[in-house]
Symmetry: C2
Subunit: 296 residues, 2 copies
């Protein structure tokens, strides 16, 4: 556990170094846009998605350093845009994120909408940078995977179902639909992109996607549980904001005890998909354990 | 003029046929998202950007039908998302677009934000679909061009400067900055993408980009003039909405007469960049004339 903590903290620093390089030089008349993008991109996230992308690419020998780095930054840009838009007054109306004022509180609502739009677009600019001829098929495939899972059938679709469900009745099928898309899809896409870029076979990509789906779900259940149990410091956002927004959560639908056991069961299932990779998957294994251990 | 009108109306119908194919099958829990995307995508636009993309690709012999079609749909998705977000209460707060309620009026604000996000993401999904090995370099290059020009250095940057300038002083340099990015960038990207996909040389792409920059500017000046002169029917949005929003416009900065002569001069300059293509560029030439003739 100490080792994985150390790994995560070093990887976080590495990823943040890359992210600092990925914003273009600001222009004078739109300076505030770049300030808002920068503010949200460097507000202390765990960098889970880029770390998973890089750690998955490292399972294989075929990765291109520059492409993996660009995709790692891209998935963090997409995650950051989704948080900015989710926090907007018309959505979850959150004033606080990771202990700091949210983007629209700090910069105004119009800037927050545009900073989100710009980060989403930047992600695709990063993923489409020139590469060697033999990389291009995998680059396009990985880019397409991220686009599909970030869009209306993935993350945005999940956020829509979540927003519509607020205050509604829900049920287990709905909460699973939401979690699989809102959180799971981009986690799974990050893992898939890392595998595709690094030369994994279709069957290896499939195993790793299954792993990603499972830990994405476990991660979201854990987050729901922390929302109930935790304090603001652990979770990094206002505690009770799900309750305030009348959000449909896993513990609310199936009860706290079953949610806790589901999270454990889901992590155990996720590890099954790593077996074929043996010792090479020790890091991914450690990351899966790390997240579930937050609630144990 | 009759010929170009006919061409534009037939191309519009063709593009709309493609667009109807490009939205994925909706999912039950997020049905409203798909409804909102569909509503805005089929609200009667001129389809100028996809028409320019296809017409530019048709200058050359190297285009791949499916790729050109996907990119044409993609730039229309990006244009549509930008209109949805621009109309939001925190932005221009417009209730009417092309004679119909705007997306947030029809569907609520949160759905409108998400429909915009989903259309932007869908654009990149469309542009990254599988293609033949020999197409991939140009596909990635065209995708990157669209991403750069739609993002913080392009369209979103222009929208930011526009929002920040509202009520401010302005000046000719600022209004040129805004027009070049807010309207010009995506028009220019559409033309560049068409040229790149169809096998144009770097120098041909450059000429066509210059053409695109010029007609983008002429188009925006013309729109500003129609905003002052026109009626709601011609322009398709509430007349006076720029005035209401205290928008910086070209006629406001340089006066109506100079704006009118600038628009004509800019179109004339644009045509210079088509000369090398001779008769093949008759359609692009006709489109350029068509738009400026709206104010004559």
């Amino acid at each position: 556990m100490t080792d994985i903590r150390l790994y995560l903290s070093e990887m976080k620093r590495t990823v943040e170094g890359w992210l600092r390089q990925c914003l273009p030089e600001p222009e004078a008349f739109s300076m505030r846009l770049f300030d808002a993008m920068q503010y949200s991109l460097f507000s202390g996230g765990k960098r889970l998605r880029p770390i998973l992308l890089v750690s998955t690419a490292n399972l294989f020998s075929g990765g291109d350093g520059a492409l993996v780095r660009d995709f790692a930054c891209a998935v963090e840009c997409i995650h950051t845009y989704s948080l900015i838009h989710d926090d907007l007054p018309a959505m979850d109306n959150d004033d606080l994120r990771r202990g700091r004022p949210t983007c629209h509180i700090e910069f105004s609502e119009n800037l927050a909408i545009l900073a989100g739009d710009a980060l989403l677009t930047l992600a695709f600019e990063l993923m489409s940078r020139p590469s060697a001829p033999e990389r291009r098929q995998r680059q396009l495939e990985a880019l397409n995977e991220v686009a599909v899972k970030a869009g209306c059938l993935g993350m945005v679709g999940g956020q829509c179902a979540d927003v519509l469900a607020s205050g509604g009745d829900g049920g287990e099928q709905l909460v699973r639909f939401i979690h699989a898309r809102k959180t799971g899809a981009l986690i799974s896409a990050s893992i898939a992109a890392g595998a595709i870029l690094a030369g994994a076979s279709d069957s290896e990509v499939e195993s790793l996607c299954n792993f990603g789906d499972k830990i994405g779900l476990a991660f979201q259940i854990t987050d729901d549980l922390l929302e109930i149990d935790g304090d603001t410091k652990t979770l990094g956002k206002s505690v009770g904001s799900d309750v305030k927004n009348n959000k449909i959560t896993y513990p609310a639908v199936v009860g706290i005890d079953r949610a806790r056991s589901e999270a454990q069961k889901t992590v155990a299932e996720s590890l099954g998909f790593l077996e074929r990779f043996g010792e090479r998957a020790a890091v991914l294994n450690g990351i899966a354990h790390f997240f579930i251990d937050r609630v144990n």
